[in-house]
Symmetry: C2
């Protein structure tokens, strides 16, 4: 492995691993399948359960609803209000789970105080768990059984495959150990025969690990976490962070200006993992509608 | 980290991390709880479902039954025969899951052709899944929710705690990615804030990873896999391998003679992880009996 010192002035041609074209391709496939299903009398339907007033959550939900509509998928936003109890949310998820018209269910975060995400997500029927939130989905994934992976983790793998980044026998380092990204992404990479290291806030000398990575997946939620000292010229960096900036923009966890020219590939934020995630949520939904 | 070259002739005092005393302590606690429960009218009962003629499996089941009996736990060996179908096994697990007299269920391997372990283990009621075989248990474990870990993975952690090996912020390398040991052990170490790397047959230059380990967990099933080149003087080695030898003995995955004097600590085989595993199976069983 060639090592580029962090003080390097020479510049690599860092490949921009955009997700926009891949997302378009997935959405085109989804739109075609949704149209076929609708002709056959089954219109794919996604339900998003919301129990928050959070602005960025509302923005995300609107963006899913809009993309779903464009693809011919019905999207029900079930807004229980920010004062919903855990029991309210559980009852809503259970009702949607048995509703034959609903093919996908997402439980939006944040949740009200006293409502535990993993505990509630267990009420989502596994076959409708299009965002892999039910602990059973995580377990089936880890055990190598069919299950929907959390869409963000699935998007990481879809991007790596789209850009033909080899994984078998390669060193993959995942920074972040959330149940929705870090842990499932690590499982998916392990399934693909990568040697996988999971780092987090207690990891000492993070750069000692990240500098060994052929593929570095960063999903922490801290802007500027990954900078020149953390990478080498061989590293392909997948930036899962989406941190709002003061001017209303979005930045990832990677200092793009610092690592650009020092790594082999880098996903942009926005326009990297994000659009692929939404497209995969819809893909999972039509996939389940086609089975039902 | 101090590195001892593999050619080192100087000898460290390698600590033997035996599991016998810890297993005795756990069994004493189990026996006391079982006696109390029995006085109260509930005798803890463990069911072991067997569908194989395999000799070493039979030996293991006899050893569990004997240890259970000594601890005041009833142990039913449900032998379905080597020609049992997947449906036979599933029906047996489902019946035991609803039997109020049964507090723990183990599905013994190997299974007949056509019977998939993870698929069948999903029929074990999670609260009776004392060996963490149901994918839901693995998912709950990964999600940080209460669940029984596979007893062998739990034994790895119990031994590390017994010998007060620090884990938070340390580098732990797990060799092997089975659903019953490697993956759950990695999850448990991650929960304890270790930085965790999972290696396997596709890992290139295994020693590059293992030599960084403060704690090295080996669970592959290949005698002599780990030798002097794979360790340093700081490594604590947990050997989960149990490989039968020609003379009727048992060896681990670690070449004990080669690494002894080169590592900081090493579990013996037999007498390391094994007895703790059996004790924890029984502990999980009385734990569930006490809740029921």
């Amino acid at each position: 492995m060639t090592t580029i010192p962090s003080s390097a002035t020479s510049s690599l041609a860092t490949r921009t691993l955009a997700g926009t074209q891949l997302a378009r391709d997935i959405r085109a496939e989804v739109t075609a399948t949704a149209a076929e299903l609708t002709l056959g009398g089954v219109t794919p339907r996604l339900a998003v359960v919301v129990a928050t007033d959070d602005e960025s959550s509302a923005w995300y939900v609107r963006s899913i609803a809009k993309t779903a509509a464009k693809s011919g998928i019905l999207c029900d936003v079930v807004d229980l209000g920010a004062d919903a109890t855990a029991d309210d949310i559980r009852a809503s998820l259970a009702a949607l789970s048995t509703d034959p018209e609903v093919h996908g269910i997402i439980l939006q975060t944040p949740l009200p105080p006293g409502a535990d995400f993993e505990d509630l997500a267990a009420s989502i029927a596994p076959e409708k768990d299009v965002d892999g939130a039910n602990p059973l989905s995580l377990g089936r994934l880890a055990a190598g059984l069919p299950a929907y992976a959390p869409a963000t983790a699935a998007a990481v793998l879809a991007l790596l495959d789209h850009y033909e980044v080899p994984l078998s026998g390669r060193t993959c380092v995942v920074v972040g150990r959330s149940n929705v990204v870090g842990k499932p992404a690590a499982q998916l990479l392990l399934q693909r025969d990568a040697t996988v290291t999971v780092c987090h806030r207690y990891t000492r000398d993070l750069d000692n690990y990240t500098r060994t990575a052929d593929v570095l997946v960063v999903a922490v939620g801290r802007p500027g976490l990954i900078t020149a000292q953390h990478v080498t010229g061989d590293t392909v960096v997948i930036d899962v962070g989406t941190n709002p900036t003061a001017d209303g923009g979005l930045v990832g966890d990677v200092d793009e200006a610092a690592v650009s020219g020092l790594v082999s590939g880098l996903t942009p934020v926005p326009g990297g993992v994000g659009p692929v995630t939404t497209a995969l949520l819809l893909k999972h939904t039509v996939h389940n509608a086609a089975r039902s």
